[in-house]
Symmetry: C2
Subunit: 276 residues, 2 copies
Amino acid sequence: MEQKLSASAPIGVFDSGVGGLTVAREIMRQTPNEKIIYFGDTARVPYGSKSKETVTRFSRQIVRFLQTHEVKTIVVACNTASAYALEDLEKEIDIPIIGVVKPGAKAAAQATRNGKIGVIATEATIGSRIYSEYIKKIHPEVTIYGKACPLFVPLVEEGLWEDPVTDEIAKRYLGELIDIDIDTLILGCTHYPLIRSTVARVMGEKVTLVNPAYETARELRSLLEEKGLLNEAPGKLGENKYQFFVSDGAEKFKTFANSIIKYGILSAKVIDIEQY
Amino acid sequence: MEQKLSASAPIGVFDSGVGGLTVAREIMRQTPNEKIIYFGDTARVPYGSKSKETVTRFSRQIVRFLQTHEVKTIVVACNTASAYALEDLEKEIDIPIIGVVKPGAKAAAQATRNGKIGVIATEATIGSRIYSEYIKKIHPEVTIYGKACPLFVPLVEEGLWEDPVTDEIAKRYLGELIDIDIDTLILGCTHYPLIRSTVARVMGEKVTLVNPAYETARELRSLLEEKGLLNEAPGKLGENKYQFFVSDGAEKFKTFANSIIKYGILSAKVIDIEQY
């Protein structure tokens, strides 16, 4: 069915909540002509502590919703859903779908010099060992050290991006990765780019930080070019280029989104995702 | 149908996740002969960001599940579900059902001397103004100051019950309540009793802390006595006195439950709550 896809169709992007906005932001930067339909599952967030079965079921509902908007490709802008659900989703739908894990893993495998890569993420992503699996396919002799950082997401959502408390928590979480002497660190959760400078300060200059949001937007661009789906025409003035949907709390989402994306997000619409 | 209820039947207790275990713990302390069927909706946690309709629908499913275990009474050990769903549930079922808000509100109204009561809770509970509503029914001239403390739940779940970071965050959240000179503070989220000593230290000796979990267990005891439903006989040795059910993540639940309840919880069973 791929011949039906139109380059002018939007890209579907989803996450368990607001974190995926860091991915949407990179897509806006790197492919500025693309339209985006963003869905944040704010009623069921967080995914990081839920099982594979539950996350896969939720992701299927979201994919069905995005397809009602005739998206030409889908970006799973959530590490947990990329880890748990992407493989199943790829088999089930007939449009291209990419996650954030593979591009991040690839960039880290290329960046490391001493063969020691750290991954910081939610418990679910670390427990899935998904980054490790992908990195080892590219670079089997590398060692990967995973560290779950459950407080980073609530600290980011509370707005403490630059704060002594976030510094203190970062020092505790990252201490063991410094001791191990990793030279590359993957920001394996879509919230973490927002505290990138704190992480960089704690890790020190010698450690390369890999931002999967950036790498994913790059991969998306290549994919669209390869499939002849890159939107070459800038949107028309007044056109609703970026549309945001959530499963709950539209106002709160809008406020947070406007702190990340500088396009002036005017509205987010609440939909009943369980109907899809 | 109340004549059918047996004093030897278990009590049903439910919450959106692990927080309600502080209520279960108080019930175990104050009515040690009672059997408990606990359900934690860990697949759909948190309830705080969901609408009244959704929380009521979820609560109905849980009540139906608990009734398959022939519970003699139900305790809604969740502030959000108590705020949103209790009134409907009371009309729909023919066994006694109590929530955590009313007992907490009553205790606070009785405790205050200067008429200034603080409530700390999740954003949803504060936004619902439910504590204020109940307190004003008892004591109309009291002023209630609500303060949402979004980082307390993740700090508790990360195990930082006694920690300089939790102290620092508590100082920030509670500073304005100290300035207002409240003399009574309601721990309006079931996680908060686990950081009670931090909150007490920050608030100082003059402020009375009200723990709705404790008040609810007291009210439950009175209710059971009044209805002739108090279980007078200690359980038999080897009997499965406390049973735990969740909608996701049984192992993680068990670990956390064992850090709160000192009875050695051996298992938690995952059930598909959406079937009820």
